[in-house]
């Protein structure tokens, strides 16, 4: 029985459904937008996983209202089930909670869960979406998420969040930090006994809830429904479902997780024992022609390595073995993680696929048959087998795509073009994340920002029409002399802190400290319900200082400051004690000392908090103009998209023409014509409103986000001009390293992949009469000097090899590789290459191939693993896949004060939270300057940088100040020390003969305060008094 409410957006009778805190009432005045020409300033994001959340936040911060739809009862997607994430081992929940809470409580994001998009009609730019909202039987506006109903519910049901390994009540909340924190009744399990209604203190249970169809008018749509894990039953030879100790990687992830069935104790299903020998079987449901998934799911190698490392951390005597064909650690920092797994955690990697798994009678152990190093079949016993499942799309997502008229490729993923990776087949509907192609979290987040930029473009003119500004309650005045009333909140962070530090003892200790009037502990202080708890505590106990002892202020201070600001407290009356990253995580094996240190860190925080002062911030106008440095594909795309969003753009390019690395490429592996695309891109850039500065170099850079000043010198006339702009995007790209060794440069028949491509394109015919070609992979990559994988050379090698084969099918081509890393849909070309007779031979770095020259003939010798002997060939051509290194950026990095990795690529603020931002706000990175990338990936990242930049450019002004240096005029001896010491030349001696510091310009480093001979300068929030109090608290007590 369906009730359809046509008025859009609907407010019908008692139907006040408020997902999270966005009350529907506010929206009731919005008229339905029937006029197709006028774009609607709202976007519908379908799928609330990490991708959907990132896209929603970027859009909401750039002036667009967002409807975030998720068909599961809460947002968070598969990432909410993950324990830790590679390659940084951050816990998944800690990465997601800022985005979860952000999306859940954002004024301009309406989260609609347990709902599905039925259909989307109308023209692009002003769509009308029909959304089916399935009944929850619990009213969103009343439920506080307290869980009383679940406690009393007599009926038990299988908990799909824990992959069926534990039970839950019929009324449930998917996971503790769920957003929105609203329970719902699982009608399949519920017998309708009515107990939960009695148990509910908030009277939130409503058995009369019915399915509702809601019509919502939006401008554009982003599809981010994520992926579904491959069904392990489809590979019966591994015995999943038959042998209890064969489990899926997602089940293993749940077992490792603190909210998992065994509260992070690693126990195996058959007998609850701790497994010692664990086998990971890779490529289950990927690279498998038989079951139709002959693509690579890109993430399973890395999550297997991670799960092995985390298992080792939980249980030191565990011996993980990973059976694989190739380890595809192609991303940034992945190879270092893979090497560390081998070196520090002695994870064993066996290059062999598994034929079958049998159970050893009566022991629950498993016998795995595989080909060992010598190539002979052998069998080994394991206590536990984990199947690394690949990614597929779920049936419901495929059906939705059909309903919305979005084409899928033959694997059931969303069909996109190489040069427009974010656009689907239907105009106005964009895609990001795993639904576009299997990818990991960092790339999903980056692509989500990209999709946000793409979706915003069409409706840029409607920016700000539907969004409302954030009003804070009046700030309660806290006078300095007022007695400090401190509230201390100590976090368990699952077992991350609680597993090492005795949190209750620390809480007890905190409550004994002077001025501490309230001490409390929480499982996850960063979760939304705890934010409410903190706010209530502030009101209830009249707190005027708040301390959270949990993780690093670097990632979570902004969120907590926002929370106490919503409770009416000035956000600087807040202090964090890092008892996780700098205590429990680094003193894991010395729990007593870790607890003592945690107490001390809290004591230091309290000493500091007593002297915290309210600090006010001032509004500073934003220069609504962007500067893009680097004119390659990433730079041009970024500049174009910024212009498309209506902002003025300067594009600075060092060379005398645009194109960057694209100038050397002719065709993509999919067959796309690169030069045509490049010409069209350059054409569009030259005819747009973009100020193009060729032969130009950045020579100086200053200012603060929203207000930068950059000096650009343009050759040949050395014209110098100053550009005022609000944001900067670095897209300086990368280039192919000229290899040394293998006689490169000494013989014309030894060349690099780019040189080969150029030759094939220009003089393809003469290449046809080559008979023997050998390609060598990882030349200059994955060694001490350059530890990372250059990611694109495997694809390029396969591309060129296929082209050679097409020219002369009789040519025999060998590719000597260490790991073939053709991730994602590139795998299909690897399969095609093998099918067309291209021979792939694996070599170990210790015995890499040798190239010698006897007379005129080139001799290439290498160790053949399978034939077990040294082979020598006389190739006509040797092609080296050499490393991709960053184009010269050291001087630029120093000018803009942005960090670089050891290998010279730009270091982003955070691989997953802010993949395209720099630590200093307002500066972004895109393309190969961040790390080697394919063209389509560079384009996605360029869109992402634009979306992030718009979160600043779309604002009239920004808040600045707070932590700045202040001069006490009386004590100042006008000795000019501060004027000389300040790196930004901010202090001046004013007309009264006293030093003066402009709070807008001051960056808050505090050097002047530390050097002033008269001690007349102090840095707010880090005052001398505070620091001395903190140091004083170090000892004793």
């Amino acid at each position: 029985m369906m009730v359809s409410a046509i008025s859009s957006p609907p407010v019908s009778g008692g139907e006040l459904l408020k997902e999270g805190r966005n009350l529907l009432m506010e929206l009731s005045d919005r008229t339905t937008n029937k006029d197709p020409a006028k774009p609607v300033g709202a976007v519908m994001v379908v799928g609330g996983g990490i991708g959907g959340m990132q896209a929603s936040l970027d859009l909401a911060e750039s002036g667009f209202f967002v409807y975030l739809i998720d068909n599961s009862p809460t947002i968070g997607g598969v990432m909410s089930q993950l324990d830790k994430t590679f390659p940084t081992n951050d816990c998944a929940m800690c990465i997601m909670s800022p985005k979860l809470v952000g999306a859940g409580s954002h004024r301009n994001i309406r989260v609609i869960t347990h709902a599905e998009v039925k259909e989307i009609t109308g023209p692009p730019g002003s769509f009308e979406a029909a959304v089916v909202r399935r009944p929850r039987y619990i009213r969103a506006d009343k439920c506080t998420g307290c869980g009383e109903c679940a406690k009393h519910c007599p009926v038990t049901a299988i908990d799909s969040y824990n992959e069926g390994m534990s039970k839950r009540a019929a009324v449930y909340l998917r996971y503790p930090q769920a957003i929105p924190k609203i329970f719902l009744i699982d009608r399949d399990a519920c017998i309708g006994c009515g107990l939960c209604e009695r148990a509910c203190l908030a009277g939130a249970v409503d058995y009369g809830d019915r399915e509702i169809i809601e019509k919502i008018s939006i401008g554009t749509v982003i599809l981010a429904p994520g992926f579904e894990v491959f069904a392990a039953e489809r590979r019966p030879e591994f015995g999943y479902g038959v042998f209890p100790n064969v489990m899926t990687s997602l089940e293993f992830e749940r077992i490792l997780s603190a909210t998992g069935p065994h509260r992070s104790h690693l126990l195996r299903p058959s007998d609850g024992a701790i497994p010692e020998r664990i086998a990971f079987i890779q490529c289950v449901g990927s690279r498998d022609v038989k079951c139709g998934n002959d693509y690579c799911s890109s993430v399973c190698c890395m999550y297997a390595v991670k799960e092995a490392i985390i298992a080792k951390e939980h249980v030191p005597f565990v011996k993980p073995t990973i059976f694989n064909m190739d380890i595809r650690a192609y991303g940034k920092g992945f190879d270092a993680y893979y090497e560390r797994a081998k070196a520090d955690y002695d994870v064993r990697f066996v290059k062999s696929m598994i034929s079958k798994v049998r159970e050893k009678q009566g022991t629950g152990n498993l016998l795995v048959t595989f080909l060992n190093e010598e190539g002979k079949p052998s069998e080994e016993e394991f206590d536990l087998v984990v199947l690394s499942l690949g990614m597929t799309t779920s049936k419901s997502v495929r059906d939705m795509a059909a309903r919305l008229g979005v084409n899928l490729n033959r694997f059931g993923f969303c069909e996109t073009e190489t040069f427009t990776p974010l656009a689907t087949s239907r105009e106005g509907i964009y895609v990001c994340g795993a639904f576009q192609s299997p990818k990991d979290i960092p790339e999903t987040v980056a692509q989500a920002s990209g999709a946000a930029a793409a979706a915003a473009e069409m409706i840029a003119s409607a920016r700000g029409t539907l969004t409302t500004k954030k009003e804070y309650p009046p700030e309660s005045e806290v006078k300095p002399e007022e007695e400090a009333r401190i509230g201390v909140f100590i976090c368990h962070c699952g077992i991350n802190i609680g597993g090492v530090v005795n949190v209750p003892a620390v809480k007890e200790y905190a409550s004994t400290l002077p001025n501490v009037v309230h001490a409390d502990e929480n499982l996850y202080t960063c979760s939304q319900d705890t934010q409410e708890k903190i706010k209530n505590a502030v009101k209830e106990h009249g707190l005027n200082r708040v301390i959270v002892a949990s993780c690093s202020p670097r990632t979570h201070e902004p969120m907590f400051r926002e929370t106490i600001r919503e409770a009416g407290l000035n956000k600087f009356l807040f202090e964090m004690a890092n008892i996780r990253d700098q205590c429990s995580w680094v003193h894991m094996h010395r729990k007593a000392e870790a607890t003592e240190k945690a107490k001390l860190l809290v004591r230091m925080a309290v000493a500091n908090a007593r002297l915290n002062r309210s600090l006010s911030e001032t509004e500073v106008p934003v220069v609504r103009r962007g500067l893009v440095i680097g004119g390659g594909v990433a730079g041009m795309t970024a500049a174009l998209r910024l212009a498309e969003q209506g902002f003025e753009v300067f594009l600075v390019e060092k060379e005398d023409r645009l194109g960057g690395n694209l100038l050397n490429l002719h065709y993509t592996i999919e067959g796309g014509d690169v030069q045509a695309f490049l010409r069209e891109l350059i054409d569009r850039v030259s005819h747009s409103s973009i100020h193009l500065l060729l032969n130009s170099l950045v020579v100086d850079f200053s200012g603060v986000r929203g207000n930068f000043t950059t000096g650009v010198m343009t050759a040949p006339a050395m014209v110098y001009q100053k550009i005022q702009h609000g944001i900067a995007i670095l897209a300086t790209g990368a280039e192919e390293e000229k290899p040394d060794g293998y006689l490169y440069g000494e013989d014309v028949r030894v060349l690099t992949q780019l040189e080969l491509e150029d030759r094939l394109y220009k003089a393809g015919e003469d290449a046809a009469n080559l008979k023997e070609v050998v390609m060598i992979q990882c030349v200059g990559s994955r060694n001490e000097k350059h530890p990372s994988c250059s990611r694109t050379c495997c694809a390029t090698a396969v591309k060129n090899a296929l082209k050679l084969k097409k020219l002369n099918p009789a040519m025999n081509i060998r590719i000597l590789y260490r790991d073939v890393r053709t991730y994602g849909f590139l795998e299909t070309y690897y399969t095609q290459a093998r099918r067309e007779g291209i021979i792939f031979v694996r070599y170990d770095p210790e015995e890499s191939p040798e190239v010698k020259k006897e007379g005129e003939t080139l001799l290439l010798s290498f160790e053949d693993k399978i034939l077990k002997e040294r082979m020598t060939l006389k190739p006509d051509l040797i092609v080296l896949s050499s490393a991709s290194i960053p184009r010269e950026n050291k001087e630029l990095a120093n000018l803009l004060k942005v960090p670089r990795t050891a290998e010279g690529f730009f270091l982003e603020a955070h691989m997953k939270l802010r993949p395209v931002d720099f630590a200093s706000d307002g500066i972004y990175v895109a393309g190969s300057a961040h790390a080697p990338k394919l063209i389509s990936e560079s384009i996605s990242q360029a869109y992402a940088a634009v979306a992030r930049a718009c979160t600043i450019l779309s604002k009239e002004n920004l808040l600045v100040g707070g932590i700045v240096a202040v001069v006490d005029g009386e004590r100042c001896a006008a000795c000019l020390t501060c004027v000389r010491v300040c790196p930004y030349e901010v202090p001046v001696v004013n007309v009264h003969g006293e030093a003066e510091i402009d709070i807008i310009k001051c960056k808050g480093c505090g050097t002047c305060a530390a050097e002033c001979p008269a001690r007349a300068i102090d840095l707010m929030h880090f005052t001398t008094g505070q620091l001395e109090a903190k140091v004083g608290a170090l000892v004793g007590g």
């Binding site: 007599p154 017998i191 309708g192 058995y207 065994h262 126990l267 299903p269 007998d271 024992a273 005597f317």
Partner: protein
């Protein structure tokens, strides 16, 4: 001297108790082994009283109420029958003295019948011998009592009949079989969990030791351990770092 069984009998005030008095007035003789507790209605007898009685040392328990239809409170005896039948099933499953429990009806006028019932039941218990109080059976009794005193079972037992006959809160008829099956699953789980809590009273145990005591396969035991961990009633003994983690009662 031969075994003298100790029997506890609950007599409903309006019928059975009156019947007992009538037996007295008519000077019918019956063995002195029974101790009587008067209850206003047989429906008042909480199934948890029975395992408590056995634990307290009684060898047999009788519950005598009004004949169906005579109940002064209309449906008290029907409720009693439903609860005691469920209890009987639990005792049977656990293999503990379901024969030591009698539920029957005696009207106010049946003094004779009352005496015969007492005499018959006493002989029956005498032949069964004293209640076997091994440590294992005591553990089971305590678990049964805890489950029956638990909220989940009491609520389900109360609601089950209504759900079978009338519509549920959604205005739909639930298939009675599903209700019974849900009740039995919940009961089995509660019983296992309470028995485990009993085992862990003495100290820490591994999953294997627990499943042996429950004589269930490990695969059946683990979900209960998972639920108990989930409810925070048990945890893992941190001091123990062996291959087989030991569970411990928490808090």
């Amino acid at each position: 001297m031969s075994f003298e069984p100790k029997i506890l009998s609950f007599l409903c005030n309006w019928c059975a108790y009156a019947g007992a008095d009538l037996a007295g007035i008519s000077r019918f003789q019956y063995p002195p082994n029974t101790r009587v507790i008067r209850v206003m209605c047989s429906g008042r007898v909480d199934p948890a009283f029975v395992p408590r009685a056995f634990l307290a040392g009684f060898d047999g328990v009788m519950i005598l109420g009004c004949h169906p239809g005579d109940c002064h409170y209309l449906s008290g005896n029907i409720q009693a029958e439903r609860k005691i039948t469920l209890l009987r099933k639990v005792l049977a499953d656990e293999g503990i003295g379901e024969k030591r429990l009698l539920l029957d009806w005696v009207s106010a006028g049946e003094g004779q019948r009352f005496a015969e019932l007492i005499r018959g039941f006493t002989e029956q218990i005498r032949s069964l011998g004293p209640f076997p109080k091994t440590e294992e059976i005591e553990g089971k009794l305590r678990a049964i009592r805890a489950s029956l005193e638990g909220e989940k079972i009491r609520w389900m037992v109360g609601k089950a009949p209504e759900l079978m006959e009338k519509e549920n809160v959604y205005g739909e008829r639930t298939d009675p079989e599903r209700v019974r099956e849900a009740l039995e699953t919940t009961l089995r789980e509660e019983l296992c969990k309470n028995r485990i809590m009993g085992f862990l009273e003495a100290g820490t145990m591994t999953a294997k030791e627990i499943s042996d005591k429950l004589n269930l396969s490990l695969k059946e035991t683990l979900p209960h351990l998972v639920s108990l961990v989930g409810e925070g009633r048990i945890g893992f003994d941190p001091s123990e770092e062996s291959h087989y983690p030991r569970y411990v009662r928490s808090g």
